[in-house]
Amino acid sequence: MLETTAQRERVLKLLEEEGGVTEESVRRVAREANVPEAEVWGAGLFYTLINNPGDRVRVCDGLSCQMAGADALTERLESQGKTCERVSCLGQCDLAPATLDEQMKLVTYEGRPTGVTPDDPELPMNLGGEMDRSYAGLARAREMGAEAVIDELEASGLQGRGGAGFPAHFKWRSLRSQAETERYIVCNADEGEPGTFKDREVLLRQPHLMLEGLAIAAWTVEAKDIYIYIRGEFGNERRNLDRAMEEAREQLSCFNWHVVDGHGAYICGEETALLESLEGKRGMPRLKPPFPTEQGFRGKPTLMQNVETLACIPAILSRGGAWFKGLGRNEPGTKLYCISGHVKTPGVYELPLGVTLDELVEAAGGYEGTPMAFSPGGASSGFLPMDQRELPLDFKSLAGAGSMLGSAGVVVLNDTVDMAVASAWQLVFFERESCGQCAPCRIGTRYLRRQLDRYVQIGDPASLAQADDVGWEMEEGSICGLGMVAAKPLEAARKYFPEAFETRNSNGSSKRG
């Protein structure tokens, strides 16, 4: 039984080693892993990095890359004889427009400066500082004892940084209370929300903080095996992680570490889809309950945290939960804000949780042009108009405004942007990344994208007459968070920028108003 499970978990990796899905590679992998051929085929075709073997340039079509001229870049590359594929946000929004070349190496074209908060030892993650290799938080955890660690976590008020903002200490307590003693720790490093590239910076600049956070988690909830699921497109980050793990071999030695590459599916950032993927299957979210803390990886209690959440933990233990909490405004701690789009110095800035957009953009060198809208937390958060610039960028305030902080992937759009077109870019993303399991999302994302395209082409608002009802059902009826928010960009754009959705004369390329 255990053996077959373990075999299935190898399927995606084996397919990658084979160079992707072909009839022959699937046959070999099925034989090698002793998994039915059809399942290998079905699993492999789910993932864009393995479902269509062949060399090509992958050009990002995330919001920031689109605004930075990704379409024109694609045309240019194609005219040079290159084969191009448009792909979902590569997490390089500060370097827009971004591409991966035929060897999956990152290639960017704009020489624009990018930024990160300068060295400040008072910051929990201090991305601009020297790499912290002390593992002092882990030592402190061992002195304190498991219960005290969780108390400290509770005192810190740390909320999950992967998007949902769920208090971390609840999950840690829940893990410790499980009767089952085979438990797993999973690090969610599948960062893929358009506009988001903060976990990337942690992996590149402070990977030890994340590793230390994982070790603390494993020690506290008494788990032996730690899995790091890292986005497949993150080549540099993966190499840096390997290096860090090598450096810290001694400190990490009490646990079994497993680094697993993603294979090209945004939905695998959703925790239960990630677990399916770890198990070698199609990344389709599971129904909840049961929650991963009860039945997660291999059906066993599993603690999953985001890279940034984990990177906060060493400082919380070394300097105290109360200290961490005090760093935030209305909500606890500092937050890694990603900012890109129409600002002077895009980048990742560690600021008190709850700063305003203006404060964030000030850190990023100021606006470029006249700002018109911003997307506060990735594609999933929709858009907000500039008259909401005073809103604290925290979980509660943004939820109150019908948006969300999500992964804090903030994108600024200035008045050169057509909001209908910008919404269409976001809808393309959701249609492509829907797992396809449930109808509201699978059909709804495609319906909205097509109707919006139609509107942009012919300028007739009637194309969008049913968009509200469809968006409503996507939120009510979808299984997971992807479908629930996929209509948000269009919904928000229509709400705040109605003039961009009025009757247009003919070829639609006219800007709003």
């Binding site: 039915p36 059809a38 059909i443 059902e473 009826g477």
Partner: protein, 364 residues
């Protein structure tokens, strides 16, 4: 069922469905409790033989205390739970959801899901709750037009991707010939390498057809639409001793198609094998023997009565025994025989002809 009835009384508790109190047990789903109460919750992706998937979203209900609608097929009841299966919110949910399904489905001139010989449950739902009218989404789904297997046809235009067929093939048959492939609006039902079913592990049991709620999977050789005067006759499959029940669909005195009786109704619980479901050509075949025949001295076969035929056979066999001895004979019975028939066969062999040379073709 009988197992559940033996549970101690204290495992029973009360829940409320649409304001009515009813009894339920630990581990039961909203769908199960509602069904017992005669409260119908529409659903497409559920088959009681399979693990609930909660994927079609048709069976969403309101559960007090839950912000989101929850799938009745998968949601477990607990003491005091209050469930609502009809409300304005649910009505709107169904209307828009059905609209989305229809935007992704082959429709007839009336704008309703096309029906094949196998009832299209989506059509029935749409007839009951008029769906929101939406423009077609033209999803780029691949079928397998080249699949030359003789029995099973797949039409992606009628597929709603409930995955009942793939889950059936995995969970019930453990054959895993078909799978969900690709993703998002390109998701389809596929085989490894998109090969025809004959080149896969498929055993052509046709269970996928049986579980398909929309008729996207249908029998290739049966009429695509059964005439209104088709009759359904319950019978027993005579291919083996298991005795699966069949429903013969008879048109003008001829078997036009065979299906399994509904799940839960007979011993085979909705399942059949390739022979039971598809191998019915012999019934009306011109070569079929319909009466005893004896080869007379002219070398030709001539119709005879059973008494005559049995006597000729018995005489012949006894002649062999007398001339060559008992062990010159061997008896082989058919896998189509029941246990009782096999017993009689070995009795014939051992007591009438005194030989232990008795075999049954399914024993090897």
């Amino acid at each position: 069922m009988s197992e559940a009835r033996q549970l101690p009384e204290d495992e029973l508790f009360e829940v409320e469905i649409n304001g009515r109190t009813c009894e339920a047990r630990e581990g039961e789903t909203v769908f199960e409790v509602a069904a017992r109460q005669g409260v119908e919750i529409p659903v497409l992706c559920h088959d009681t033989r399979l693990e609930p998937a909660g994927a079609c979203r048709v069976c969403l209900v309101e559960v007090e205390g839950q912000r989101r609608l929850q799938p009745g097929c998968a949601w477990k009841v607990s003491a005091g739970m209050k469930i609502t299966t009809e409300s304005d919110r649910i009505e709107k949910h169904r209307r828009v959801l059905y609209g989305l399904y229809l935007a992704d489905h082959k429709l007839d001139d009336a704008g309703l899901p096309v029906e094949t010989a196998n009832a299209n449950q989506l059509r029935m739902l749409a007839e009951k709750t008029p769906p929101l009218q939406l423009e077609a989404v033209e999803a780029p789904r691949r079928g397998r037009p080249e699949d030359e297997n003789p029995y099973i046809k797949f039409d992606p235009e009628l597929c709603i991707l409930c995955a009942r067929c793939t889950r059936y093939c995995d969970e019930i048959e453990a054959v895993n010939a078909i799978t969900l492939a690709w993703r998002g609006s390109e998701t389809t039902i596929s085989t490894a390498g998109e090969r025809g079913l004959l080149d896969t592990s498929c055993e052509l049991c046709g269970g996928c057809i049986d579980t398909c709620p929309t008729g996207a999977l249908i029998e290739k050789k049966a009429p695509q639409i059964l005439p209104a005067h088709a009759e359904k006759v319950r019978s027993t499959c005579n291919f083996c001793g298991v005795g699966c029940q069949l429903d013969l669909h008879v048109v003008d005195g001829k078997v036009a198609k065979v299906t399994s009786p509904p799940v839960g109704e007979t011993v085979n619980d909705g399942n059949l094998c390739v022979k039971g479901r598809f191998a019915y050509d012999f019934v009306h075949h011109e070569d079929r023997l319909t009466e005893p025949l004896i080869r007379r001295e002219d070398g030709e076969l001539h119709p005879a009565s059973w008494e005559e035929a049995i006597e000729v056979a018995a005489k012949g066999l006894l002649g062999v025994k007398e001339r060559h001895g008992s062990d010159a004979m061997g008896f082989v019975s058919s896998s189509r025989c029941t246990v009782e028939e096999n017993y009689l066969m070995q009795k014939l062999s051992r007591t009438a002809f005194r030989t232990n040379n008795i075999h049954q073709c399914a024993a090897t």
